[in-house]
């Protein structure tokens, strides 16, 4: 896992714990952690997390549009790693576009 992905994962983990509050898991959150099975998050919770991430990353990552392309079945199977990879790829694109 690239270094940037590692720091993004750490940041997302913190946000997930904030969203889940008392229901946050004791175990470490990894790239393979699934939102529904492992974290017990409903689709509406994933939407809320998307909102927080958008606030954090601003124009660099179009998070809402990425999540909205998923359907309800896909979002049930969504892994934390998929979000991390999307953010990392978006940040790379932004970085590559800068002089």
């Amino acid at each position: 896992m690239a270094a940037s992905q590692e720091s993004i994962l750490a940041e997302i983990s913190e946000m997930i714990r904030a969203v889940l509050a008392d229901f946050a898991p004791d175990d470490e959150i990894t790239m393979e952690t699934t939102f529904r099975e492992d974290l017990g998050m409903e689709s509406i919770d994933v939407v809320s997390l998307a909102g927080r991430l958008q606030t954090r990353y601003g124009d660099q990552v179009n998070f809402a549009h990425f999540v909205a392309t998923l359907d309800l079945q896909t979002v049930r199977d969504l892994r934390v790693g998929q979000l991390v990879e999307h953010i990392a790829a978006s940040l790379d694109r932004v970085g590559a576009g800068q002089p």
């Binding site: 409903e42 689709s43 509406i44 994933v46 939407v47 809320s48 998307a50 909102g51 606030t55 809402a64 549009h65 999540v67 909205a68 392309t69 998923l70 359907d71 309800l72 979002v75 049930r76």
Partner: protein
């Protein structure tokens, strides 16, 4: 994000129109000479048109829209507004204030807070559609068009059905055995939603207040002059309301989706998406980008006045993708 409106905190999600150059069409704001829309001019309102997506009652949240129609509408050029109704999802849950007018007041206050001034395209799923009609009745100058999925305007017949549904939920959900029986054959997650609904009905006066909502005179419903699209599932009893809706609002385009149930928006989102985009293009002059998605499985029946399908008609349009019909209770 959280927006304070009408005295409570509402969970709101926005999708901006997909950026220009991403090969998408633009939805025009309703023009002054657009007699079809019969809405006041939005010429002084710069920016893209707004679509407001309203979810259903008791066990629903904005996620039903977020993962079905929100992105296609943003791609069609809309600024998309979604919110959790009071008492639902991540919005505040006051104990009281669950009559139709309370929900309409919330919506009006929310749009004010968001600075939305032009006429909006209202989308409602199940009871969310009733809130959309209720908003159009009280704020006719602010409605551009209405899409109602498995819904109806606030009529006595529809509200009686809503009352029966809520009474049944209030009676059955506290019983574990009843929940287990209901969950059999349903989608994964039904039990979890049932628990959330039970908690909500226990914590609020919704089950008593909503059915007792004051209803508008039918003439006020008929005064809604904007284009209306009503989508029903052929296997849902709500489709029986279609003829009355067509009588009250003759401009309505009614589509009954073969093999679909009350959850047609989620179960058959691709079909609904195709129907909505086609209707926006044909009735509202909104041009979606690219070909309207179709699915060979889906053979929607378009009927001006809905008549229940004969067994033969049902089987001829039976779809491979249709969920097996469960028979709870």
């Amino acid at each position: 994000m959280i927006v304070r409106a009408n005295g409570i905190d509402l969970h709101v999600e926005l999708l901006d129109p997909s950026p220009p150059g991403s090969d998408v069409g633009r939805a025009p704001a309703p023009a002054a000479d657009d007699t079809r829309a019969r809405t006041p001019s939005a010429a002084g309102t710069p920016g893209p048109p707004t679509a407001v997506l309203i979810h259903g009652m008791a066990s629903d949240t904005l996620a039903s829209w977020y993962f079905t129609l929100a992105k296609p509408l943003a791609d069609a050029g809309f600024r998309v507004v979604m919110y959790d109704l009071r008492g639902h999802g991540h919005s505040e849950r006051p104990r009281t204030g669950y009559a139709i007018d309370d929900f309409v007041d919330d919506l009006a206050a929310l749009l004010d807070e968001l600075g939305v001034t032009g006429p909006v395209y209202l989308f409602g799923n199940s009871f969310g559609g009733t809130i959309a009609f209720g908003y159009a009745i009280r704020h006719p100058e602010r409605a551009a068009a209405i899409v109602a999925i498995e819904s109806a305007p606030p009529t006595p017949a529809w509200m009686a059905r809503v009352a029966r549904g809520l009474a049944r939920a209030a009676e059955l959900l506290p019983r574990q055995d009843a929940v287990a029986a209901l969950a059999a054959g349903r989608r994964e997650g039904f039990g979890r939603r049932a628990r959330a609904t039970r908690e909500m009905l226990a914590a609020t006066t919704l089950a008593e207040e909503l059915p007792a909502s004051p209803l508008p005179d039918p003439s006020r419903i008929s005064a809604i002059g904007v284009p209306v699209l009503c989508v029903y599932g052929a296997e849902s009893a709500v489709a029986q309301l279609a003829p009355e809706v067509a009588r009250l609002l003759p401009q309505t385009r009614t589509v009954v989706v073969a093999g679909a149930r009350h959850s047609v928006l989620v179960d058959r989102s691709e079909t609904v998406r195709g129907l909505v985009l086609a209707w926006l293009r044909e009735e509202c002059g909104v041009a979606p980008a690219g070909p309207v998605p179709t699915h060979p499985d889906h053979i929607p029946q378009e009927v001006p006045g809905w008549t229940p399908p004969s067994p033969a008609a049902r089987s001829s349009s039976a779809t491979a993708g249709a969920a097996p019909r469960s028979s709870p209770t």
